[in-house]
């Protein structure tokens, strides 16, 4: 037994086509509507992608611009940091990683005898 849906399909397929010189007005309307929707979809997609990119760029900019933020070297990304685990897995790693400590005062030039010499060893 043939399903009724198949019979409808055959009936539609059997409808004679209209000639190219006389397009169906309904079909033209649908095509114009579809084209317009496609343009809207394209514009919406472009805006969405641009928005995401702008937010990402702004985020990076802000993270670098906030005073007191990380002062790690600019080349930090070139060094391996391992598997991305946080040191200590939520527990302390020991000394605070806040910053390298500056001396109380910078070195002063000396003309005194120097019993100790700092150099590579």
């Amino acid at each position: 037994m043939v399903p009724s849906g198949s019979l409808r399909s055959i009936a539609v397929m059997g409808t004679p086509r209209r000639t190219a010189g006389h397009p169906n007005p309904d079909r033209l309307v649908r095509l114009r509507r579809d084209a317009a929707l496609e343009r809207v979809r394209s514009v919406t997609k472009t805006i969405a992608v641009a928005s995401v990119a702008a937010v990402a760029v702004l985020g990076v900019y802000i993270s670098r611009a906030v005073p007191g933020h990380s002062s790690t070297p600019t080349g930090a990304a070139t060094y391996p940091s391992g598997g991305g685990q946080s040191t200590g897995g939520g527990t302390s790693a020991g000394p605070s990683p806040s910053s390298l400590s500056a001396p109380n005062s910078p070195p002063a030039q000396s003309q005194q005898p120097t019993p100790v010499v700092s150099g590579s060893s």
């Binding site: 990304a77 040191t87 897995g89 527990t91 302390s92 120097t114």
Partner: protein, 328 residues
């Protein structure tokens, strides 16, 4: 061998003890001559403690025990001393964006530096290794609550960039606390100072530790001063010159813009962290040092000197007074 001598021409008398540890020169200065013997004992106690936990050339060191145990990839409980040494090393890595990375152990072994340095004098046979990034400092996981360490299997640690300076800081602090006098401890040119006399301690700055013809000198009154460079600890591998400063990105000796970098900081560890990082960073080190506010003197491969963040310029004329020579 060790020597003792008194310096002259100072308002405060200083007494020096000099010896050699870890293939490098050790200087201890105290401002109270009567404290020297006790200070020397404290110094060696501290050096022994660090040696027992962090010496990678010592088969029974706790570091090598950790390497063996860590092959299973599970957390290993360590002593407070090793835990602190590792925490100091990871802090240095974090503060330098990974430029100073303790996971370079396997990389430096591939270059032949897997034994005491004097044994490398004759050179090491090849082949010369290719580039291979180190595991990375974040692969080392510390758990302070349980004093455990997790290493990725195969990771070897080299704490050389921080352990020596950390030992200098510990020794200087212990001596000052217990003896109540001014102290300078220098381990291979990594210098820690406590309770400096008026006018500070005077330190020569040169490419090579202990060079009696140091081209410039500074005085420091607190914290630490360290110099990193390629002038001393180098050898040949397969006939090619190599040195001990490893770039974590490729596991090979850094090709730095600098011959020597000297940095002053609030501690010897921070000074040595910054000087080592500067060697790895190359030309970017100038801006970075300015940014973190650490006074530094950088010497290019051609010998040109650059000073930043308040480090005094080199004298135009050669220094009139040279280093005090070591007594034989």
């Amino acid at each position: 061998m060790s020597t003792q001598q008194a310096t002259s021409g100072r308002s405060a008398p200083e007494v020096i003890y000099r010896t050699s540890v870890w293939s490098t020169r050790v200087d201890l200065i105290v401002t109270d001559a009567s404290a020297l013997v006790s200070a020397t004992r404290i110094l060696h106690d501290e050096l022994d403690r660090v040696d027992r936990v962090a010496n990678r050339f010592r088969a029974d060191s706790e570091l090598n025990t950790l390497h063996d145990a860590a092959r299973s990839g599970v957390g290993i409980e360590v002593s407070p001393d090793l835990y602190e040494a590792l925490a100091v090393a990871l802090r240095a890595a974090a503060l330098t964006g990974g430029a100073v990375d303790p996971t370079v152990g396997a990389a430096i072994n591939r270059l032949g530096y897997d034994r005491d340095f004097p044994l490398l004098a004759a050179g090491v046979p090849g082949p010369f290794p290719g580039p291979l990034a180190v595991p990375g400092w974040r692969s080392v996981v510390l758990d302070a609550e349980h004093s455990t360490v997790v290493l990725e299997p195969g990771t070897l640690l080299d704490l050389g960039a921080t352990a020596k300076a950390w030992a200098a800081d510990r020794a200087a602090e212990a001596i000052a606390d217990r003896m109540g006098c001014g102290v300078l401890v220098s381990l291979g040119g990594d210098i820690a100072v406590q309770q400096a006399p008026e006018g500070g301690f005077h330190v020569g700055i040169a490419d090579i530790c202990g060079d009696p013809d140091a081209p410039t000198a500074v005085s420091i009154d607190s914290g630490g001063l360290a110099t990193s460079g390629i002038g001393n600890r180098h050898w040949t591998l397969d006939g090619r010159p190599v040195h001990h400063l490893i770039h974590p990105g490729n596991g090979l000796p850094v090709e730095s813009a600098w011959r020597t970098v000297s940095v002053a900081a609030g501690s010897c560890v921070d000074a040595n962290t910054a000087s080592t990082a500067s060697m790895v960073l190359g030309e970017d080190a100038v801006d970075w040092l300015e940014g973190v506010g650490l006074p530094a003197r950088l010497v290019t491969l051609d010998g040109d000197v650059c000073t930043v963040a308040g480090w005094p310029a080199d004298p135009i004329e050669p220094r009139a007074l040279r280093a005090v020579p070591a007594r034989p």
